[in-house]
């Protein structure tokens, strides 16, 4: 096959598939019986291809009960409405978030706990009731007022002087 013939190969295929042959190809075909024969052979192949291609898919037909089966399957799937599914999904997502948050908190708390040395814990231990003493005038609450004294260290006589 000459270089000229090789150059015409693409055009031969295009022409075989029904495209109008360009002038260059027509000129070449007039002078090259080999390419003219190749075009005839390719046209035959093209016809065969066009007759076979539809058979690859088009002989397939849905079975007579196909629609009934789809509707029945849709019935089964449709028993749970999209709204129900959406809420179920939302609930599941919320539960996942809650579990993840709890796990994260537990992890952080566990790490914080592990960092505190037991001795330090004892040193810093305070009775829960101490919290109540940490208020303004806490000192007053630590002393027991004598008879006639106010709990705020102001003598009754001072406040009630006018009664003497």
């Amino acid at each position: 096959m000459s270089t000229a013939c090789t150059e015409q190969r693409e055009r031969l295929l295009d022409a075989a598939l029904g495209q109008q042959p360009p002038v260059e190809l027509l000129a070449h075909l007039r002078s090259c019986p080999r390419c003219a024969a190749a075009l005839a052979e390719l046209r035959g192949r093209s016809e065969r291809l066009n007759s076979l291609l539809p058979l690859v898919a088009q002989h397939a037909e849905p079975s007579p009960d196909f629609r009934a089966r789809v509707l029945s399957a849709a019935d089964r799937r449709g028993s749970k409405s999209p709204l129900f599914r959406r809420w179920a999904l939302a609930g599941f997502a919320a539960a996942c978030v809650a579990v993840a948050a709890w796990l994260t908190y537990a992890e952080i708390d566990g790490r914080r706990e592990a960092r505190v040395v037991p001795v330090e814990r004892i040193a810093h231990w305070r009775a829960p009731s101490d919290v109540f003493l940490e208020v303004a005038g806490a000192q007053n609450l630590r002393t027991i007022p004598r008879l006639g004294q106010s709990i705020v260290s102001v003598s009754v006589t001072q406040t009630t002087g006018g009664l003497k």
Partner: protein
């Protein structure tokens, strides 16, 4: 308590007004959807399963599927993708349908001709499977009856001109490989 689907469709006026009747949707599209799946899978049972799954997905989306043309493109696209997924999943155990046309009575001569044709179709299917993906997709989708370049393009998200060009390239490759 849930109503049977057929009753639900006919009774639920909201559904009716939301889109075309689902029952009619199946009737009008089942053949093409099946052929799209069959063009990829080459097996009727698998193709029917894909077609069924396609319509079940349409069933879920049904209230939001309004325009008939878009519904058609949507169905084509889903059927094609599901078929490709199934093909990838079952490539090892690919079983080709060899019983087609078997329901027609035939003389011995016809039988031989049909067997030969079947063989040629199977060879062609193998050649199609060996095409580059971008050409194969276009060709496989266009094999279903009545699929125009515009419809193939709508399913693949490509312009019709690109589809025509790729189809031509695919056929050229097949032509070269044919014996």
């Amino acid at each position: 308590m849930t109503r049977p689907f057929a009753a639900a469709v006919s009774a639920d006026q909201n559904w009716r007004s939301a889109g075309p009747d689902f029952n009619r949707l199946i009737a009008e599209n089942q053949r093409r959807v099946l052929q799209i799946a069959y063009g990829v899978l080459g097996n009727t049972a698998d193709a029917e399963e894909v077609a069924q799954e396609t319509f079940l997905r349409a069933f879920r989306k049904f209230p939001s599927l309004r325009e008939p043309e878009r519904v058609k493109a949507w169905l084509n696209r889903i059927a094609f993708r599901l078929a490709l997924n199934r093909q990838r999943a079952s490539r090892r155990r690919a079983v080709r349908d060899t019983t087609w046309h078997g329901d027609q009575p035939a003389s011995t001569g016809d039988e031989a001709a049909r067997a030969n044709e079947r063989l040629l179709v199977e060879q062609l299917r193998e050649q199609i499977a060996a095409l580059p993906e971008r050409l194969r997709d276009v060709l496989q989708l266009s094999l279903a009856e009545g699929m125009s370049a515009g419809e193939v393009g709508a399913a693949l998200g490509l312009p019709a001109a690109t589809i025509r060009s790729r189809l031509h390239s695919a056929k050229k490759l097949l032509l070269e490989r044919m014996k």
